[in-house]
């Protein structure tokens, strides 16, 4: 049984957008080891995104109604069919279904898109919050009724375990480090944690996938996520200020994004769109 296309795209877009964001550190890491670590992290995420887009493309091509829904996408069609590149490079901002958290710059809330200064505490805090969720999501999706999604989940789980370990280690070093690193880690958490509220408000696609057994009801993972987060934050001597949550809930996963995604996609997609028939 196949998962809903939009659910697969949600998972794929999460991985691709965070992978692209983290790749901004390539050649700019605070130390060589972290430059390598973030490049590895991106490689894993983009690899996961590729597997998911390939799966989504095969589901779209196999279903005339879905093929019609994506018929407006131009370029990177292989033999007239939707391919992984079509989905990654030829959809526009409003068609992406990633969480807003994934697309935010490596910086605090008051930032223009053109900022060249990046705050590694934001990078680490986001990777920590996201990989704690994805460890749980992929673990559950190993039992997906969509066999291909279950296979992708089993691979991805192994990778995000390392991402979570890496981000947790650094968050503890930052939080339990100097006054400066503590202040910046706390500021990064205070900035990012409210975006996590969107995890627990599943989109129609996530709900449909949970209902038919191809997906997971993320709300059932919330207590476990809280436990993972709270355990590490306690070790890092950092504080959660996000509960109870009373504010706007980010809507990236239903296609309403921050101003940052457009710039990220423009940079990522421009080459493919300038040369839509290119093969590499």
């Amino acid at each position: 049984m196949a998962a809903p296309v939009d659910y697969v795209l949600h998972l794929a877009d999460n991985a691709l957008v965070l992978g692209q964001r983290n790749a901004e550190w390539c050649g700019h890491g605070p130390v060589l080891e972290e430059d390598l670590a973030l490049a590895n992290n991106s490689l894993d995420l983009i690899g996961q995104a590729r597997l998911l887009y390939q799966h989504a493309a095969s589901l779209i091509n196999a279903d005339p109604a879905e093929a019609q829904r994506f018929a407006h996408l131009q370029g990177a069609r292989q033999n007239g069919q939707i391919a992984e590149d079509t989905l990654a490079y030829f959809r526009d901002t409003a068609e992406f279904r990633n969480h807003t958290l994934m697309e935010l710059p490596h910086h605090g809330p008051l930032v223009g898109y053109a900022v060249s200064e990046r705050d590694y505490a934001v990078t680490i805090a986001r990777n920590f919050l996201v990989s704690a969720l994805m460890v749980l999501v992929w673990d559950s999706l190993q039992a997906s009724k969509d066999a291909q999604l279950a296979a992708i989940a089993a691979k991805s789980l192994k990778e995000v375990r390392y991402h979570l370990r890496h981000a947790s280690d650094w968050l503890v070093r930052f939080g339990d480090g100097t006054d400066e690193s503590q202040r910046r880690a706390q500021a990064a958490l205070d900035h990012l944690l409210p975006y996590c509220e969107a995890f627990w408000q599943p989109s129609p696609a996530e709900q449909a996938a949970a209902a038919d057994g191809s997906g997971v009801d993320v709300r059932t993972l919330r207590d476990h996520w809280n436990a993972l987060i709270n355990d590490t934050l306690a070790e890092a001597t950092l504080t959660r200020h996000d509960q109870p949550h009373a504010g706007y809930v980010a809507q990236g996963h239903v296609g309403v994004h921050s101003e940052h995604l457009g710039f990220l996609l423009a940079e990522m997609q421009s080459l493919a769109r300038a040369h839509p028939t290119a093969v590499w």
Partner: protein, 174 residues
């Protein structure tokens, strides 16, 4: 399977036997567990089944090209199938392969994955992984420390030996 089919699959297997991982040339694709199977396709054409190590492993394209090149050099038909499940694990690495890694200067994976989870995956534990001793491939000392959990390729971490002071790669359990 008739004798002719068996012989043709055997020929494919032999043609691929020397193929090595592009990034770890001392270990064959078969020993690493990337080359999963050689079987007869529904149309009678031999199928070479490979599985990626990490999702984003950039060597997969090269490996597929290497297989096509080896088959074509041997004048054999065949196609390459990529299969994800069951997910590749370092548990499939033979003892001989581990020894070759060690001799090459890469510490082989230490702890295996558990069979009690659906994909044979170790449950997440930040502390358990850290406390596994990784012997130095140069001098054998257990007095080593992790420099970074991510190294020169997706499958390796960076370590250094506190006795002989050499840095080394560690093939991560996966």
């Amino acid at each position: 399977m008739d004798a002719a089919t068996h012989a043709s699959l055997q020929a494919v297997t032999e043609a691929l036997a020397h193929l090595a991982d592009p990034e770890i040339p001392v270990i064959s694709l078969r020993e690493l567990g990337i080359l999963r199977d050689v079987r007869e396709g529904a149309d009678g054409v031999p199928e070479v089944v490979i599985t990626p190590t990490y999702s984003g492993c950039p060597a997969m394209g090269q490996i597929e090209d290497d297989i096509h090149a080896a088959l074509s050099a041997a004048g054999l038909p065949g196609r390459v199938i990529t299969q994800l499940s069951p997910a590749w694990t370092t548990d499939w690495m033979s003892e001989a392969a581990r020894e070759k890694l060690r001799a090459y200067g890469i510490a082989p994976p230490q702890c295996g994955s558990h069979a009690d989870t659906p994909a044979g995956v170790v449950k997440f534990s930040r502390h358990a992984v850290r406390h596994t001793a990784v012997p130095c491939p140069q001098c054998g000392s257990n007095n080593t420390t992790e420099t970074s959990p991510f190294g020169s390729t997706a499958c390796k971490a960076l370590f250094k030996c506190l006795d002989c002071l050499e840095p080394f790669d560690y093939f991560k359990p996966y």
